[in-house]
Structure formats: structure tokens, C-alpha cells
């Protein structure tokens, strides 16, 4: 691994964290575009060249011609370039349904302690609510892949005790066998949640905090959750992005800054610890190299 970057943002940190989770020679059904696609592409460039990904427009194992135009992450010549197969949404759905997809990578609006995902409505669906676009491919990814990696923001309004609407299934009510009782394939379900600040896994189908970025504290993470997760015995300090990772992310994957420009910038200070740039500015305490 190359040198740790002295300056990055929390979104870049999140993408790099997921990229380092990617296993070589495994299959990933990736939500079309955004952080999930950036994560798998970064992984393929640096860590897992033989990781395979598919998208819901029927594309199997593309070697996309980057960069992609805005929103043009599916059904385009660049996004589907040098694939092994051009199928359809039904063929990809069936590939997942027969058990070919090891992992799914998704992002979402809301998640609850059991990994249920909301991308349909915030508020009371039957009454006052704000409407969103629906599950798209996420319901099938969450139902049919063996493991699901969810990317979302570390915000109290995103981590809620019960999602307002289950668009895509996690462990449902958290009881053993809940997914199987509604016809979902056995042995599947949520596996990791990765935010710009933290990593979670599941213990007995319940979200558990396992790692925290060095630019925030455990308490800061918990303050940005509307429920208390289970806690791992030891909370790991997450690795920050390397110069190599950032160089690829910024020059090849996200040239226009569409994905990463929404994160808060972080800086390494003279004592080797990390802090948010804005807070250090307020304190008048930026590193000498700044």
C-alpha cells in the first residue's frame, strides 16, 4: 500500500473502505452508479483485479471505458464496454436468483438495526411523506445476493429504529428465519454497512459497530444514530485513504467530482492524528503544511 494521504474527504474514505473489502474472483451485483460503482472499480484497479461485477441492465463483467457521462452508468457503450455478456434485467435477476451473486453493493436513504432499507418514502407512506424513487434494483440485490454491503451516510435521520418503508429487505423483524418465511432464499442477507465514519457488521441479525474512522470518535458515530447498535468488543481504527487510491479516484473514476465532492474534507495534523478541516479552521489549528 502506498503512503497515507494527508488530505482527503470523508466520502473518499468511505469508497476506499469498501474497495478494500472486495474479494478477488467473487461476483458483485452493483447498484448502477455512485459510490457502489466507484468502490468496485477502485478495488479492481488496486486490490481485486479478478472481482467480477454485474449491473441490472444485463451487463456481465464489463471493463468500462472511463469516465462515464453524467447518469450514463447503464445501457451505454462506455459502461458496458468489453463485457463478457450483454443480457437483460431478467437474465441478471435470474443469475442472482440461482445463487451466482456473492455480494451486492447498494446505497440508500434509511437503514434500521436489522438492515432493512428504505428508498421509497420518508414519513408516513399512508399520510404525509416525502416521496423517493423506489427500490430500483436494490430489492433484488438485497433479496438474492448472498451478502449485502450497504453504503449510507452517518446521520441520525438515516439510522432509524424502524425504516419508514421497507423497500428492500434486511433481516425484517430480526427474528431467525424471518426472510425464509416470506420466500426469500435461505442464507442471504445484510453483511456490512459502511458510512463515511464507520463500519458495521451484524451479530444475531442486529447491526454491530466494528470500526470507526480516525477523524471521529465512537461517541460522534453513536450521536449520529437514532438507535444504539451492538458494539464489537474492540472497535477497530479504520485505515484512511492512500495517495494511490485517491489518485485513481480523482483522475479516473470521479473526474468531475460528482460522487466525492459531497464529503467533508479531512486533514492529517502535525501529530499524525486526523481532523475535519472546517473544525480546525475554526480553532485556527491547521497543520504547518496547509
Amino acid at each position: 500500500m502506498s503512503e497515507k494521504a494527508a488530505y482527503f474527504n470523508e466520502r473518499e474514505h468511505q469508497i476506499c473502505t469498501v474497495a478494500r473489502m472486495i474479494e478477488d474472483a467473487r461476483t458483485y451485483w452493483v447498484a448502477g452508479g455512485g459510490s457502489p460503482m466507484a468502490s468496485i472499480l477502485l478495488a479492481k484497479m488496486l486490490y481485486a483485479p479478478n472481482a467480477i461485477y454485474v449491473t441490472e441492465d444485463g451487463v456481465v463483467a464489463p471493463e468500462p471505458s472511463l469516465p462515464l457521462d453524467p447518469l450514463m452508468t447503464m445501457v451505454t457503450s462506455r459502461s458496458s464496454y468489453r463485457a463478457l455478456q450483454w443480457g437483460t434485467m431478467n437474465t441478471i435477476g435470474f443469475h442472482a436468483q440461482i445463487g451466482l451473486m456473492d455480494y451486492g453493493i447498494l446505497n440508500t436513504l434509511q437503514v434500521d438495526p436489522y438492515g432493512n432499507i428504505n428508498s421509497t418514502a420518508l414519513g408516513d407512506y399512508a399520510g404525509e411523506h416525502r416521496r423517493f424513487g423506489g427500490p430500483g434494483g436494490a430489492d433484488s440485490i438485497a433479496a438474492l445476493c448472498w451478502h449485502t454491503i450497504l453504503m449510507t451516510d452517518q446521520q441520525a435521520r438515516k439510522f432509524v429504529p424502524r425504516v419508514d418503508f421497507i423497500s428492500s429487505p434486511g433481516f425484517l423483524d430480526g427474528s431467525e428465519g424471518a426472510r425464509e418465511r416470506v420466500g426469500l432464499p435461505r442464507g442471504t442477507g445484510p453483511w456490512r454497512v459502511v458510512t463515511p465514519w464507520a463500519v458495521f457488521d451484524y451479530e444475531d441479525r442486529h447491526l454491530r459497530l466494528t470500526g470507526v474512522a480516525p477523524f471521529v470518535t465512537v461517541d460522534q458515530v453513536l450521536a449520529e444514530m437514532s438507535f444504539k447498535p451492538k458494539m464489537a468488543k474492540e472497535i477497530e481504527a479504520l485505515e484512511t485513504p492512500t495517495e494511490d487510491e485517491l489518485a485513481l479516484l480523482r483522475t479516473e473514476l470521479d473526474q468531475r467530482g460528482q460522487i466525492t465532492d459531497v464529503g467533508k474534507p479531512v486533514v492529517r495534523q502535525d501529530d499524525g492524528t486526523y481532523a475535519f478541516v472546517e473544525e480546525q479552521k475554526e480553532k485556527g489549528d491547521l497543520p504547518s503544511s496547509w
Binding site: 458496458s80 464496454y81 450483454w86 434485467m89 436494490a138 430489492d139 420466500g183
Partner: protein, 326 residues
């Protein structure tokens, strides 16, 4: 005797399931003869899209979809449509903004004030599915079956607001979700090449064009290129849609504009940003005034609002040709 229990069922209205009725329709209405079906976009939409229809489009307004036909549907002010809104980006919002829609079966669409307000005011009712569940439904329709068992969708709140049911599978004894087959009244499909009879070729990846063509009562194909039937016969393996499911063929160069048509032209980035911003900011009426109501046809829009130099530019940017030539 094994009985099949319904363990749970959604409360959402769904398009009536009637496989024998669909067979009767096909028997009566799908021409087996090789008859030319070439017509203008105006004539095709006038003849084949009726108020109250269930309408399905393949891909969407930004990605190899029938964008010119969508604009024509809005221009003709079709009403009371039930839209299969899967993998849809701005398409559903444009149709809702044009006042064409009363019901949406949602897989995914780009939300925004226009659709949100229509739903809140009760002008549009949304039923909830996922993209893949919608293409599974259309596959059941294409197979002439009444329903499709699926291993996804169970346990979601979408299930509650859909036409899905959870039953005990009589073969395994395990619970299984079933979803109603979908046989839309009309499907709009944009293709790379077609002959005048409707034998059509799509190069590259897609959503459910073969299933939609088989499952729909009326099928309008728009094609970048009209080719000779001899060319079809020279390489039949490349025919993705056979003539006898097709009711109209429209010659539509740049028919997917502002979206990309793989191998022919890329998306028009400024236009994509304009239509997405219009959707997110509630400015769809202004967008429709300019690009739909402000012109009489696709040809006039390209000529007056887009211009030859932009078209040349997006053609030039489509540098990847592998897989998109016969």
C-alpha cells in the same frame, strides 16, 4: 389433496390478469402476414396509444429509450395512462407532467415535485414493485402465464402495496411470492435496426425488450435505421424481435435523444442535465413547452432546437463501435 394457501397478499390494484383474453387478442389482432407497418410517429401514436392504456417503454428517456415516441405521446395529450415505471429516470415524471398518467407501477423513477404533488393530490396512484419484479411480471406475460413465482420482494412494504401474494408452494411446501403477469396495452421500444415488417435488431445490453414485445397487445418499434428484409435473412441470429409481434414501425433517427444510442451517438450532456434539473426542480412544464409542445415532431425538434452541429458532436463522441455493427 394439496391445497395452496394464500399466506399474505398485497392490497394494490393490478392490471387484470387474463392469459386467455390475451391469446384471443393476439389471434385477432397480430398480423401473421408480412405486411409493411412503416408509419410516422404521429400516426403510430394516434392509432396505437389510447387513453386509459397500460403503457410500457423499454429502457428510458436517457438510455436507449423511445424518447421521440414518449414526446409524441405527451404531445398528443394522451390521458389516464397506467405506466410501467421501472428503470425509468425522468420518463415517468415527464408523462405525469404532461397530464398523461393516472397510475404508476413503480420500479424506480427520478422523484421530484411534479410526481410527488400528483401523488399527494390523488391525481396519480402509485403501486410499488421493483425493477426486476416488473421485468419478471412482463416475462410471465410474454410466456402466456397468469403469474410468476419470484424469490425477491417478500417481506417488503412494497409487497403490501402491490398485486403480489405469498403462497405455500405445493411442490416444496415452502413459502413463495407470486406476482401477477403483465400484458400491457402498448409497448414502445427503440431499436438499432428494423425492416418495414417489424423484424428488429437491438445491439447491446437492455432491460426486457424481447419480453415486452411478446407481452404487449400493441407494439410500436422506433428504429434508428430501416433495413432491407434481405439483410435480416442474411443474419437471423441478430433478430431480437420478430415481425409478428410488432404493430407499427417508425423510422426515428436520433429517436433516443437526448439519451444515448449505443454505437450511434452518446447522450447530449447539457440536455440530460437540463431535463434532470427540470424534474428535480418542478420545471417540467417549461421543459415540455420547449421540447414537446413547441415543435410538431421529432424532425422539427432536431432541426430547430438541437441542430446539426450538436448531433454531429454526439455522433462523434460515440467512439465505441464493437458489438454495435451488423
Amino acid at each position: 389433496m394439496t391445497t395452496v394457501d394464500v399466506l399474505a397478499e398485497g392490497r394494490g390494484e393490478y392490471l387484470k390478469v387474463d392469459p386467455d383474453g390475451f391469446r384471443d387478442w393476439v389471434r385477432e389482432n397480430k398480423s401473421r402476414a408480412l405486411v409493411p407497418k412503416l408509419m410516422s410517429e404521429k400516426e403510430a401514436v394516434e392509432k396505437l396509444v389510447s387513453d386509459g392504456d397500460y403503457i410500457w417503454y423499454e429502457c428510458n428517456y436517457l438510455q436507449r429509450g423511445p424518447a421521440s415516441l414518449i414526446r409524441e405521446v405527451i404531445r398528443q395529450k394522451k390521458k389516464d395512462l397506467w405506466v410501467g415505471a421501472k428503470f425509468t429516470w425522468v420518463t415517468a415524471a415527464l408523462l405525469v407532467g404532461g397530464g398523461c398518467v393516472s397510475k404508476l407501477d413503480v420500479g424506480f423513477f427520478l422523484f421530484g415535485p411534479t410526481v410527488e404533488q400528483a401523488i399527494r393530490e390523488g391525481r396519480v396512484t402509485a403501486y410499488e414493485y421493483s425493477n426486476v419484479v416488473m421485468t419478471n411480471r412482463i416475462m410471465a406475460g410474454a410466456m402466456g402465464l397468469p403469474f410468476m413465482p419470484v424469490r425477491s420482494f417478500g417481506g417488503t412494504d412494497g409487497f403490501t402495496h402491490s398485486g403480489a401474494k405469498l403462497i405455500n408452494d405445493p411442490y416444496t411446501g415452502e413459502p413463495i411470492t407470486i406476482v401477477p403477469a403483465l400484458n400491457p396495452d402498448v409497448a414502445l421500444i427503440h431499436v438499432h435496426q428494423a425492416d418495414v415488417f417489424g423484424n428488429a435488431r437491438i445491439f447491446g445490453t437492455g432491460i426486457s425488450h424481447q419480453e415486452a414485445a411478446m407481452a404487449s397487445k400493441k407494439v410500436i418499434i422506433s428504429a434508428e435505421e430501416i433495413i432491407d428484409t434481405e439483410e435480416i435473412r442474411r443474419d437471423p441470429g441478430r433478430t431480437t424481435i420478430p415481425y409478428y409481434v410488432v404493430d407499427a414501425v417508425v423510422h426515428a433517427p436520433f429517436g433516443a435523444y437526448p439519451g444515448e444510442m449505443q454505437g450511434h451517438y452518446t447522450s447530449d450532456v447539457p440536455h440530460v442535465i437540463e431535463v434532470v434539473a427540470s424534474t428535480l426542480r418542478g420545471l417540467i412544464p417549461q421543459y415540455l413547452d420547449k421540447y414537446v409542445y413547441g415543435v410538431s415532431s421529432q424532425a422539427e425538434m432536431l432541426d430547430k432546437l438541437v441542430g446539426a452541429s450538436r448531433l454531429k458532436d454526439i455522433q462523434g463522441r460515440a467512439t465505441i463501435k464493437e458489438g454495435y455493427t451488423a
